[in-house]
Amino acid sequence: MFTTHGRIFAFNQERDAILQEVVQRRLVAHGRNPDRLRLDLNDAAFTEITRIEEAGQTGGKAFGHWRDLYRRIGRLDATGLETELARLVWHYARDVVGNFDPRVYGFATRVVPPALSFLWRPQFNWSRLLNLSTARERIRVQGPIDRIRALANQGTLILVPTHLSNLDSLAIGFSLLTQDLPPFTYGAGKNLFFNPFISYFMHNLGAYRVDRRLRFSLYKEVLKTYSQILIERGYHSLFFPGGTRSRSGEVERRLKLGLLGTAYSAATRRLQAGASRPGIWIVPCTLNYQIVLEAETLIEDQLKREGQHRYIIEDDESSRIGRVFSYGRQVMNLDASMVVQFGEPMDLWGHQVDCEGNSHDGHGRRVDTRAYLCRRGQPCEDTQRDHEYTEELGRSIVDAFHRNTIATVTQVVAHAVWRLLEARFPGADLYGLLRLGQGAVLSEAQVLEAVEHHRACLHRIAEAGGIGLGHRIRTGTAEALLAAALASFGMYHQRAALARSGPDLMVDDPKLLLYYRNRLTGHALDPLPEALRRTVAEEVKIGT
């Protein structure tokens, strides 16, 4: 019943060849330039020594190796440097490379979906454990699936989803399975491999390991080369272009394009090898949750480190099995608690692609994509050109993310209430609003008016194709939206973003309110009506 086609089923036979190619290409890229070799080795050694020292692991074997190398680099000749580089590239390439075991895949396809159904059901029920219907009700998968499936058989797909939660990978895996789409290879954080059970599955399902602690260029180049070779050889690949889970809850606006950029070199090499067209397509995808498992930790992290980057949260809700279970039991019991929306597939230049893999521009004209990678008709590599293509593609992906966002009731109500807080405390900055908003009481009539304003506004944006709407927002009244949002807010989080307080409504957790509201900030919703803002500002009604 599940896909058994796709390049990845032959991965293990190619594994060694791929490894060798990674090493070969890295060596070629360095030429025999001793300055460049020395620079990269120094960079790796210095970065690693510093990292190991900071981690307080100077007793280990690795530290000794790096210290030794660091001392010797200056004395090595070109051959010696090349030997060291080859050794390191081999080491890291082996560390990165994945595995694909069709037996494990077969097992997973039979076991994982029912297990998900089990996790997402309040009562255990044997009769339903054996089919997918429960999870199918909870996770709605939509989009031009037929076209994506058709393209998967004609070339390489690069799936680029938004990233909110550690459950994203599960939800995507589930969607691919149920839609009869082939498995995708992807780079998973090495920390996910520490759990031997998860590691076993990840490792044997085509995931490769990305050690996010390693920051030197030699390692990043190995990763990129590996990813490029996979795309070139036709393995469908998945990248989270946001790089990490969105801390603020916003739809990704700035992307990390390094891995995506490898698609252009891969395409050029395919053309040079005689392919008639690049045959690599991008499939944007949004994951839309009513309630996010790690919302509290993520927004906390965002607020603490606003403006700074932090990539690895070691301990959050997703690592506490009790929280995951409680999330599954409560949230996934909601009707259509999440929507996985696949967007229109596009080529590497953002054009729409039809079922035959032909590109069409905004005027409906056929586009010859081969020409973009050519100079005077000959395919040729040009790093600078490809860098610009990548930047432009990044903008197309961000647009697609926004168009394919599915607004949910929690986001709409949070956005409306946040706007009311802004009207009530004019001039307050973000932190001021978080402080003053705590315990703020709003009359239900005002909240309903604000929700209605947002509902109407979203309908307008949706009609112009700027956003998708969840079922409730499409059909429900402001009252129905508010009721649904209150139910969702009240069920899983420690404290509710918004809750009833007598005849009124009270903001109990302004941070969560901000988090859910942020999802819609990229859509430029109209400001609240002037009259409503004025009423709210005048009547200051502080709760207990």
Binding site: R365, D368, A371, R376, R385, E388, E392
Partner: protein, 341 residues
């Protein structure tokens, strides 16, 4: 590759000047002109009798009114048509060009209320990506006469700048490279408004102090606006910024400058535009930039004064008085970052 033909789309005076530069040493150039008769004349006389007749055209320059014939053999294409006609021409080109081509436009102007830049029009109408802009202090007549001059080619794609430079550069023409397409295009657009103000100043009989004030503070306004549009500050300090501004504001030949002079003499905008065969770009630009600056909250007192003069019926003296009154504001700072108004 030296013998690969280069195309010029547009046979006005600037297009002819570019064909003149490209065609030195008998290099092959294909130039598209609208009118088949004119094309024949160009090929017979080796010059363009209608626009810029003083520019000699090399033996390799071939004119044609057939766009596909011109574009087919050319990978590098200079697009030099008036801003109003660019979209139609780009649309006509679309069927003959693919993503392997290099388009460099040399059109200073904007399209419509949305202030669409010329490179954006090319991008929307064709499937080309390797697009660039050529802009700088380049009065066509002086180029034809062979006065030394320089220009800027800006593109996000290094290859575009390289190819364009290689084609144009010569003993009397320098080409500078830039990545700032936005700033390069806006520089060529915004200077026209300042040129009108400069004409007014001249018409009112003021001297170089006034001129220097207008040009310098005009540049600050241009830069401020450009920054808000995403341009880089140094572009305005270069040839396509201050360079082009100086050439335009001090040139009595510039149409925008002449509009300013006529306004100072008390003529109405209607009479002035009726008397000109070609519309001065700066009049329309003033309207568009004024509206956009208003929306974005950008402080542009010279644009404001020119706008009031052109469209709100105040006298040149009153416009000038307005402009000088801003200095009563104690916070008036010279910085382009200053938004006090």
């Amino acid at each position: 590759m030296g013998r690969e033909p280069v195309a010029v789309v547009g046979g006005g005076s600037w297009g002819t000047a570019i064909a003149h530069l490209l065609g030195r040493e008998d290099r092959p150039v294909r130039i598209w002109v609208r009118n088949a008769d004119l094309a024949r004349q160009v090929n017979e006389e080796r010059r363009n009798p209608k626009y810029l007749p003083e520019a000699s055209l090399g033996a390799g320059v071939q004119a044609s009114a057939d766009l596909s014939e011109v574009l087919a053999p050319c990978r590098t294409i200079f697009v030099v048509v008036p801003s109003k006609g660019l979209r139609d021409v780009a649309r006509a080109m679309a069927g003959h060009v693919d993503g392997d081509r290099i388009l460099i436009h040399a059109t200073k102007g904007l399209e419509g209320e949305g202030c669409t830049r010329m490179s954006e029009v090319l991008r929307e109408e064709t499937t080309c990506r390797r697009i660039g802009v050529l802009s700088g202090p380049n009065l066509a007549g002086e180029i034809a006469t062979g006065h030394p001059a320089a220009t800027v080619i800006a593109s996000r794609y290094a290859e575009v700048v390289e190819v364009g430079r290689e084609a144009l550069v010569g003993p009397r023409f320098r080409v500078y490279a830039s990545r700032d397409v936005v700033g390069t295009e806006w520089g060529g657009v915004l200077k026209n408004v300042v040129a009108i103000a400069a004409g007014v100043s001249h018409g009112l009989g003021f001297g170089m102090n006034t001129m220097a004030m207008l040009v310098t503070r005009g540049l600050a306004e241009m830069t401020r606006f450009g920054l808000a549009e995403g341009a880089e500050i140094e572009t305005f300090q270069g040839l396509s910024g201050v360079g082009d501004l100086v050439a335009t504001a001090f040139s009595p030949l510039s149409r925008n400058y002449r509009v300013g002079v006529a306004l100072a003499q008390g003529q109405s905008l209607e009479t002035i535009t009726q008397g000109m065969c070609q519309v001065a770009e700066g009049v329309r630009t003033t309207q568009l930039v004024h509206a956009r600056a208003g929306q974005m909250g950008i402080y542009m007192p010279i644009v404001e004064a020119v706008h009031r003069l052109l469209f709100e019926g105040i006298s040149p003296e009153a416009a000038l008085a307005d402009l000088m009154a801003i200095n009563r504001n104690p916070y008036e700072a010279e910085s382009v970052y200053s938004r006090v108004g």
